[in-house]
Symmetry: C2
Subunit: 286 residues, 2 copies
Amino acid sequence: MPPRPMVIGDPAAMREAVVTARAAGRRVGFVPTMGNLHAGHASLVARAAGDCADVAVSIFVNPTQFGPGEDFDRYPRTLAADLAVLEPLGVRWVFAPEPTAVYPPGHATRVVVEGPADGFEGAIRPGHFAGVATVVCRLLLAVPADVAYFGTKDWQQTLVIRRMVCDLGLPVEIVVCPTVREADGLAMSSRNAYLAAAERPRAAALFAGLERAEAAWRSGAALPAVEAALREPLEAAGLAIDYATVVDAESLGPVRAAAPAVALVAARLGTTRLIDNFPLPPRGSG
Amino acid sequence: MPPRPMVIGDPAAMREAVVTARAAGRRVGFVPTMGNLHAGHASLVARAAGDCADVAVSIFVNPTQFGPGEDFDRYPRTLAADLAVLEPLGVRWVFAPEPTAVYPPGHATRVVVEGPADGFEGAIRPGHFAGVATVVCRLLLAVPADVAYFGTKDWQQTLVIRRMVCDLGLPVEIVVCPTVREADGLAMSSRNAYLAAAERPRAAALFAGLERAEAAWRSGAALPAVEAALREPLEAAGLAIDYATVVDAESLGPVRAAAPAVALVAARLGTTRLIDNFPLPPRGSG
């Protein structure tokens, strides 16, 4: 077994540990999380451990990325279980700051991203991506790693973070790793735990829609037919669709010929909101 | 004579130079400027050179901190003269990036500070402090110095920058240095060059008002009398006052007993806008 991870709450101490390791020539990887770790997080950590000499994982349920009426209060906090998940994965540091260490008294600074943050999650969850960008900027300064790992499941988030890192010149490489799925295709998410037993099978409709959309896309179907294929299983399963569309993979604007695209879906099932996506390869025309 | 400063345009090269120097144990100081250097800038650079083994000075006229109709186009660009000012001061690097190096194509990220950025310059120049905070954040990431130097003349700006550095956890010490003045008390500023010959003597009214306000403050006068003393020379000289007030030095809210205060003034003289301030010591009551 590797040594147990060191749990650090103080951002300055965290930063010092990473700076010292890098000064000694060790490549450092960072996986930011909100805890309640599942196999998706574990895959990011395993990738980081494969690439890097030292891995830091942050666990912080960030209040500023939740809107009024969202699930901040009920979001699962499971630190002991999370540490047990991380222990065999060779994590050196777990950064688990108190909220006041991330947002000091009188905090008044936000990092606001437009462009990729407009529309979709940005439109449905006002302020969400400003909360994400602010906390990721702050975390990347506390954990100044060589490389940080994010999951494909939050596609738009990865675009927002890449944009911010480029625009501010944060000295970190961003690696985006594949979505990890349950046996029926449901993307791993802490929010899956909110699903009632009777709802759980219906949640696979997101994956089913994405698979159908991908097949239609690869067959050369016109965009309306691709999007109809995406929506059909969601409607059949009775999910309330927030959006289900195919857009340019980088701009999230209209599909462009010979450019990568992405099928994006967000839908509600009871009180649970689920998102998922499939990256789609370039093709001759939308 | 010290060696001539190395002029660097590429943020990654700039960063690498600073990181390498610090890894060799050299303390690095940074003075961000918009160029058109005067004795105020020189005093910051001299302080940095006294404190640090290596000094970086940035010269970048930041478009995002100018509002529509402000003086971005006419702001003086004098790089050759600026290099001549810096050469005898022992500056190692001059960071003079192109706008596209600071704001890459598709740029969509702003650092927005509330709190100390509200009111005064923030109210009169909407978006100004977001432009300042964004560019200073970006510059501090390109020039990751031990310490950065700012002038007291832009009092509110120093509060905004301190707030941002604290909130994001930027790993830099902020040092604020005294305002440098002309013989008649006018605070050094690149914008003084806009003053017509007939206007120039009248510009000393800001300093005269601040001196009177300070005397009234120290004598124990009530706040309305202190502010009247501040305004009187400005009105006598026919300046258009944007604000002339005494506030808490940190919050810019109402003066608090036994807490540092600041006299803040902004006034227009023809097409030139001037700002100045005097920090005031704590006293028993406002």
